[in-house]
Symmetry: D2
């Protein structure tokens, strides 16, 4: 097994993008609980995200959601972010909350509505031009609830056309990442339900279109690390939305439901060349902190990714390759488990301190007083959530 000292250079380059909406309220269809100190504006979300980066050194970018984070002057917003030590990242479109999109957006049978959805994405590209963002992330809520409600095949054809129009609007340094999702909010079919569908579309589009893999968007039992390996092999893994799940798209803290799965995913990322300076794969969180505190929830999440990355980097690749070649099942598995079970937390704490960061970022945030300050200061106004 590698030593911790061998892997610090690789760890030093790690960056995990935070979603602005993780700092607003979220919940289920049954209830959205509000919490003191929740941001009322995109600026307050960015300020909170900056706390995560300050405590961990892991989260230099903040992803925006349009229209939730719409502002008049994105250049100014970018400067605001930089003043807080972070930059603006991926732009996420939203075609699921306007009444017009009840039966679809980029797949809609009505050309007027489909046009509206396409143009929303043009607006998002305009935002990218203003913010300097590289990635336009498209997650579609499109789908149907009943057999026959829509024409599955026709919707695919319209989707292909819509994506083509958006793709053609991208600048030379910009990318589109197309997310897939097994179900929800549609309950009979979704128009991009699996990686195969996303892959078929982005392959047809060209080099600037890539797949986005959300770790919570698969059928029960799906081997996600296989998809990671496959997409890297095909050159089409664009980005991750990290979170975790026990049942559906639970959007829990990444690594909380199945830490070993997160380890296996990161192992295949590294194995396939998806980690490090030579890779364009974007790592992002996409979670809901329904019952836990939001800022420490994000700190815990990026630490989980860092800790698992460290474990995955420790795997002794040469010994593993030999055991695999020898058909030594227990030996090969043992090498993987050995890295997984290694407690990297003390080494990481010491290394963080050597870089001027808190050894225990959770504790550092807790004693920083920031939480008390925002709970005191952010009185009045409307707390941010998914609807605003």
């Amino acid at each position: 097994m590698a030593s911790f000292a061998d892997i610090t250079d690789q760890l030093a380059g790690q960056a995990i993008e935070l979603p602005s909406w993780a700092f607003g309220n979220s919940g289920t269809r049954f209830k959205v609980f509000s919490t003191p100190g929740t941001p009322r504006s995109v600026e307050e979300k960015i300020a909170d995200a900056a706390q995560v980066h300050a405590a961990t050194g892991l989260a230099p970018k903040v992803a925006l959601h349009i229209p939730w984070d719409q502002v008049d002057d994105f250049a100014a917003l970018g400067r605001y972010a930089e003043d807080h030590g972070v930059t603006l990242g991926t732009i996420n479109s939203n075609t699921f909350q306007d009444d017009a999109y009840k039966f679809g957006s980029l797949t809609h049978v009505d050309e007027t509505i489909r046009r509206k959805a396409i143009e929303h994405h043009f607006t998002c590209v305009d935002v990218m031009d203003a913010t300097g963002s590289r990635d336009l992330k498209i997650w579609l809520a499109d789908g149907t609830n009943y057999a026959g409600q829509g024409d599955i095949r026709g919707r695919q054809d319209r989707l292909a056309d819509s994506l083509r129009q958006i793709y053609d609007r991208l600048g030379p340094e910009q990318r589109m990442v197309l997310e897939y999702k097994f179900f929800e909010p549609a309950f009979y079919h979704t128009d991009v339900p699996d990686w195969g569908t996303s892959y078929a579309h982005v392959s047809a589009l060209g080099d600037k279109a890539m797949v986005c893999l959300d770790t919570g968007h698969h059928a029960p039992g799906t081997n996600i690390e296989f998809i990671v390996a496959q997409l890297l092999r095909l050159g089409k893994l664009g980005s991750f939305d990290f979170n975790s799940r026990y049942y559906a798209d639970d959007d829990l803290i990444v690594g909380s439901a199945d830490p070993f799965q997160l380890f296996r995913i990161l192992y295949e990322v590294i194995r396939g060349g998806g980690f490090g300076p030579g890779s364009d794969v974007a790592f992002m969180l996409d979670q809901c902190h329904n019952v836990e505190d939001k800022i420490p929830g994000q700190i815990r999440s990026v630490l989980n990714v860092q800790e698992m990355t460290a474990r995955a980097l420790l795997v002794d690749h040469d010994a593993l390759a030999k055991a695999q070649a020898d058909g030594d099942v227990l030996g090969a598995n043992g090498l993987i488990m050995d890295a997984f079970y290694t407690d990297v937390r003390p080494d990481l704490a010491a290394w963080r301190e050597s870089r001027g960061l808190p050894g225990d970022p959770m504790h550092a945030y807790a004693v920083s007083g920031y939480q008390r300050t925002i709970e005191t200061d952010r009185v009045g106004g409307r707390q941010a959530g998914w609807g605003a």
Copy 2:
């Protein structure tokens, strides 16, 4: 196979309770779409429910949800319902939308909050006294999102105590039905996740406590008709919440996702004595009409239950018992499929007309002008939904 004439007496006694909340708006955590004509009050919900009964003769009762349907004078509400040709049915409690219940209600570790939740159920029993309702239905959102967040064992013990207090408040003709749910809104554990847990609690309570089976609240692949057969055998099947699902608790129209499953469930209901005048099992819908029209959605639903009940009643039990005894797998299955594939719709239409009902209730509602009237009349006010 039985003839249709043989089963009409049994069909004539069928009654399916409607949930008041099916007439309000519902949706997902991403969006609740509003629709013209949606009720603004419990009275308007009851008026809509009465349309379903008028069109089908199948839905004489309306279930209420407290506090969504709270009124000052439930006796007056009962008279209002009777004036519209229906009566008030099951009372559903709600301990999932008050901020106090963020970490539980009947299971809460804080005795003050647990007391509040228990007393809410006392209030519900008061409502039952006023409405003459037989059943108090308890669906708990209680659960946790992360391992360790709560003490699973301690929560069970407190749940048992809370249920006991509520049970002891029931009148001699009143019942408690305890619903179970696999997941949502909690994503790590729920406090009543399966029929076994509900059964263990209601068995400990006594004869007036029964299990409520919601057809959408099971793990993927669960054989629901087995549970029906088992609970009937154990004398503990209290009621159904009908709906259907492809993935999670999709709350789609009953019978829409897997008609054959609905048939099998109803077959076991009949086989086990759960249908007909000698049975106390309550049949109720619990659905969300997120994208389809609500009143015809409910009409379609009760018709689906009626049609499948008719098919299940047609099964030739004697021939089936013989094929089963002979180990004639294909023969036995063939008898089941023969009933399922029989198109009972023409016979049902003729029979409805013979009873003074429309042969085609969907069409009858569509041409009744009711929908246009409510869309015109119900302007202003706040449309009903889960939050109000």
Copy 3:
């Protein structure tokens, strides 16, 4: 809705290939039950398959499995089949029962074993040359049981190379169909787990390589008709392995577990141009009759496909398209359900008789005396199963 007379021309062209192994014994890892009359040779399997075609007119081809059905003279076997009224169809390779393949075949890290597996496929192509079969079907048992046991990425690269070598051996009229499977017999990862992986490989190979969709090889909840629609759109749906499932790869009689799903699949097949003289999609059964009689089990299966095809052909496409365009959810779904609930069996029986076939093929077989004859005659020898 179309009338039955409108669809008979389309039904007349339907052909469903039978797997030779369905007539041998099969079971689970716990037990394979033997049954009187089970074939001892490929010739006896073909004779049994011919009974299915004689009774239904639906099953003119028999698929072979190599080496289970290996004979010295395949040309003679082809003549034997023709003498019985059927022809030889798809050739299925087998790289999962030789001790050499314990850790893989076309993906094996050991070049000697990988070479052996590739050459087995060359042998299969030789068989195809002798039988005139069009399709080589590859289902791989390759995979691993433990994380780290194999190198997922390296296995994909070797798989691509192996498939390329096999593909290059195909004649101009021959095709390769690559089957995917979610799990079993491997329990951590399989090397072709999903349609996306199969699609990525066959797309890289060329026009003669297509995807094979086995209806039992998906994760719980997967919308299979979506995959059908997508693969037809991409021009890469090669063939079906029909069966049905409640849980895993149960290999039950097609249409027995979820008849509505079979209907929806066939609807998308027709919608996407996969049915009829202009289509190259092959329809085949792949089932296990563990507890039911094999020949009537196959008769029941092809009838199920025929009945559901008839229902799917009855859908009123114009009315459906209008309802979809109008956002009439209940109307559109109603048109689909109307076709599904139509009892086509009487019309099919009359139509069969008009073509010189038995109106009730199950009954015709039962009274034919064939079963008694084979039970009497097939004494001694070794009953066919998966191992022989």
Copy 4:
């Protein structure tokens, strides 16, 4: 968090029973691979099991399967075991491999066959009398593959009667543990599919009947630790069959698929009083080593259980209870994760050595020469498997 020294007394009492059949060959319906050195007799299985105990000190008992392990003189077999340092444990019945049981055993509609199955269990009790075993474990393969094939309700009633007859045969110190299984080998319904069914039966029987929980026998997503907590609360958790799964009943090495789940299960065992001298809960493995070596596979398995038990014992209960009471979601979860992520392996190694055991049991076995010896010696004869 507790220190390792605090928990060694508790660890010292841990015992995990080994299944004799884990040392024979196993596989899937597709193939059973044979391996050099596989036992040909129950004595050789016991000898192998004794190696696991010698290397770990964790596995003092061997469970037998009747008739696989049938011998003429069980008293002599018991002495043979003791000579090897182990004792005979749970007796497992088998009513799934005789042709008579094709359509059921304890549930069979034919009284002759049901009688035969009951009497097989009487034979097993006779074996228990001879071996001094406490537990009779009943896993039923009973179930059906098609709707209508059997009468679900009637089968339950017969099952209850059969279990009663067997229960009444138990001696005062003997117990029956009734295992449940979601599916396989039956694919439509199983007669004991879930813990609720097992619990209903054993509750009706009496104090000597308990539930057996096999960790691989649940629907996807099931929260198993909840069931553990519930059964302990109800006083009805009799025993565990440990293994792990990604998909179905994969029977992989315990802890290999989801180590965190194993940890959570053991945490609830300890929390609920199921571990330690005051508990009667039996811990047993039930696994298949299809592709890995069997003896080290068993060593790895008992070590996994030991390591996870150690982690679970380390949890700081007082701090956890406080965080739970405070609604401190991240704090409570953090206390659980802190114990899980603690690398207990070095402390365990040192502690083993202090007790005269090898610090690294996997290595100790590998260099012991035992494997080479059995591969050399065990030539000829018939290797043990599920059929013999």
